[in-house]
Symmetry: C2
């Protein structure tokens, strides 16, 4: 059950951009029209820049710098009137997030916005120690959410100082998933830098004992229950079927062959990995259960769980028949294009998934307890075992996680004294279980999109969007305008 | 002009306390009645404890711990009704602050308060690497305000979890000077840990270009102008007199002798240090210009600047006559007890001044620009020269200061989205120039005590207190009660 590290790796395929680094100075934009992978009719252009960041904001012995990449688009910017929309990059290549955050492009004109997409340190091209960045715990020592937020704060302040006309422009943080947590935390810790934050599908409470550890898998299971008769039951029954087949060499060979595995199963650990790979597949499907054909983690049809569940209507079939159906289901996720010759257990999302950074973060700050009981959910029973989790982390990185640090640093459930954060959640998204789904105050507002999966609201408008996501986006724009207006009033009063 | 590091060192004489360390568990209090050095009629007792803190809250490669000292007093605590008053320790021995923060002892009964005085890392006994803590920049790397605030947050949460009945007790941060900045920043960064903060004489704006660099010395000069005829003029004229005398060997010898210097002046650098020592003396007098006899930096009479100024009424005397008077003035500050045989230039405040830590902090985060022009103030003209400041720091510690980090981290003048902070300032205190002296919102409130020097309001009640400080203390208690009440209402609504 490796959910804690690989679900979050949304690294995208590289998109060629014009790289015009002019460090320390404001880069003028040159349009480089590129097709939007999601909607070919929508043209976007940005400039790629690099900013000299301190490797360590919180200590002075390490005084080195690294080049943080960020993307900038000012086609619709109205200085003196508009806003800076600042994407708080998460665990991946920033171009991928720029391409999957259509909302920012869609609202740019209405808000007169300067768009900035800032890459998170240790991801994409923003590697503090180049190729050595992941070599050991010493190099990895500066990979924390606090350092990333400090990067963002320094960068926003630099842009406001150096971009002509930007000095009094209010900045708004926007992010999804871990990036959504960063957006919320950015507003909490640096309210003088951003006037508000849109935190989409941000499970800021998926830590310590803030929500039950069972929540996440329960939501995945509900998605499958709702999407087809006996679908969840079929998956629940598959685990024992796998175990029975794995008890003989013939059965193991049969599974390797039937599931077209690139490397055949051999050891008990291989079989465990195989089950982990299946679990992740179901989880990923729940995250990307979008109402239209899309390519986020994988190219997929509209409402992919419904498509998958068509193969999973008969939970009581004999083992091999049941698993043949499971293969058909999995084949939808991994082979929608029809070009995949074999399946690799180490790959559950896009080819260029950058797993190392998130694995390290999960082993330090980002400890999200999860468990399954196989009764209320369709997964193999698994308790949350912090000690073994910590031991695995120590083996992998030589560090031990600190599960109480995130609630200590960012407040856990007690966040009511903050302001101007909009938390959006998809009802289908397993991460909504750890999200803020109810209003806390009149400026800490939650919106739930019942038909939405993982930050559907951040994606480009689509004719297939359910009404709930359109409403959510209207609300999001409403609040952004409200924060801008309040900021203007405040500046006028001063 | 070494103001940036030595003005803040309020290390006190050690007071014998019963040390009953019970790590990780709640220590039961044993009364150890001790006389209050300021007011013998008031008896105080506390227990000394030590808490295991992470050396590095913001990285995982260094996983070591150190013992943070804190003092606890629960004589007046009413669990379920009262508050935790938490002193955010600054650059010195925490027992000294406990003894010089009479306010907390005075209000404990009224607020049903559990008193905690937490020592700042790298001061007093709370040394992360023991005797090696100051050896080099690697050991010093964890001496930052952010690490200190994280210590406080972890400690408060630990106490609330482990002290029976404290779970729902609201904590209020209280501090003076750098400790006042920490109290304010604690509320800003960890509003889920403390419901409010009293930031006394906290110059949170004495950074970067937030206030003119001349402010500080202007206020010192005003204090001397107000306290005696021609007093400031006499001091202003003394610099040139020193220079003229220093131009001959005889004159230099005469000054060493007249000022009873332990080490006679020899080089030009010695003469510069001599002038720096005099400047610091005038500055320190402005900080401790209290209305009654007190022993804070030094044992002193009531309104010590008035006493000093009696010797400084004739600014146009010949050089030696003028400097003889300056000596008489200085003698008030360094020799009020009459027992000092010679004066050391390296010592401007209490014997046990812990200068190293603050010197390092001034060379990293705590860069407070100061300048003098000798016209509007009584000091030798000196520009703010960041480059030479930085070079000196590099020579001393191998690190360079980052003057824009504090405003980036803590918001500079843009702090209006925070709440529940009361900023108190003394009108006589040179640090009030960098303080918040006007209300920002109805929950970011400023109070000025015109007749107050450096955090007079934090001291014990005295019959000689001016009315303004009594009013300020009433306001402080009013706001603490308000924060407690609001917190109770919030908890009841939940």
């Amino acid at each position: 059950m490796r959910v804690w590290w690989s679900l979050w790796g949304f690294l995208g395929v590289g998109v060629a951009v014009v790289c015009e680094a002019a460090l320390g100075s404001y880069p003028r934009l040159r349009s480089a029209s590129r097709p939007d992978p999601a909607s070919a009719s929508f043209s976007r252009s940005y400039r790629t820049c690099y900013f000299d960041q301190k490797i360590d904001h919180f200590g002075f012995a390490e005084d080195g710098k690294f080049k943080q990449r960020f993307l900038i688009a000012d086609q619709h910017w109205r200085p003196g009137d508009g806003a800076i929309l600042f994407y708080t990059g998460n665990e991946g290549d920033i171009t991928w997030f720029a391409n999957n955050t259509g909302l920012m492009w869609n609202v740019a004109e209405e808000l007169g916005a300067l768009l900035i997409f800032a890459e998170h340190r240790y991801y994409g091209e923003s590697l503090p120690f180049g190729n050595k960045s992941f070599d050991d715990a010493r190099y990895l020592n500066y990979l924390t959410s606090e350092q990333a937020l400090a990067d963002f704060a320094v960068l926003v302040r630099h842009l406001k100082k150096t971009v002509p006309g930007a000095q009094d422009t209010p900045a708004i943080a926007i992010g999804g998933s871990y990036g959504g947590m960063l957006a919320a935390w950015f507003r909490m810790k640096y309210p003088h830098v951003v006037v508000g934050a849109l935190a989409a599908s941000a499970p800021i409470w998926q830590f310590a004992d803030l929500v039950p550890c069972s929540t996440f898998y329960n939501i995945v299971t509900q998605d499958f229950r709702k999407s087809g008769n006996c679908c969840a039951d079929s998956i629940r029954n598959s685990w024992a079927a796998i175990d029975r087949l794995a008890s003989t060499a013939e059965g193991t060979r049969w599974m390797s062959c039937t599931f077209r595995l690139c490397s055949p199963l051999k050891t008990a650990q291989d079989v465990a990995n195989f089950k982990g790979w299946l679990s992740e597949t179901w989880v990923n499907l729940a995250m990307v259960d979008y109402p239209y054909q899309a390519n986020f983690l994988q190219p997929l049809p509209a409402w992919p769980i419904q498509v998958v569940c068509k193969f999973l209507q008969r939970p009581k079939l004999p083992d091999k028949a049941l698993l043949k159906n499971v293969f058909q289901a999995v084949n939808v996720y991994y082979n929608y294009s029809g070009n995949t010759s074999c399946f690799s257990l180490s790959q559950t999302a896009t080819q260029s998934l950058g797993m190392q950074g998130w694995y390290y973060q999960a082993c330090t700050e980002m400890v999200m307890p999860m468990c399954a009981d196989g009764v209320n959910d369709m997964f193999e029973p698994q308790q949350w075992d912090f000690q073994s989790y910590s031991d695995d982390c120590y083996k992998a990185w030589g560090v031990r996680p600190r599960p109480s640090w995130i609630p200590t640093s960012y407040g856990g459930r007690n966040i009511s004294s903050h302001s101007n954060i909009l938390f959006s959640n998809g009802g289908l998204d397993p991460w909504s279980g750890g999200g803020v789904t109810r209003n806390i105050t009149n400026s800490l507002v939650a919106v739930v999109i019942p038909e939405g999966a993982h930050h559907l609201d951040l994606r480009s408008n689509s004719p297939y969007d359910p009404n709930s996501v359109l409403q959510a986006r209207l609300l999001e724009v409403h609040f952004m305008k409200l924060w801008m207006k309040k900021d203007e009033e405040y500046r006028r009063r001063k």
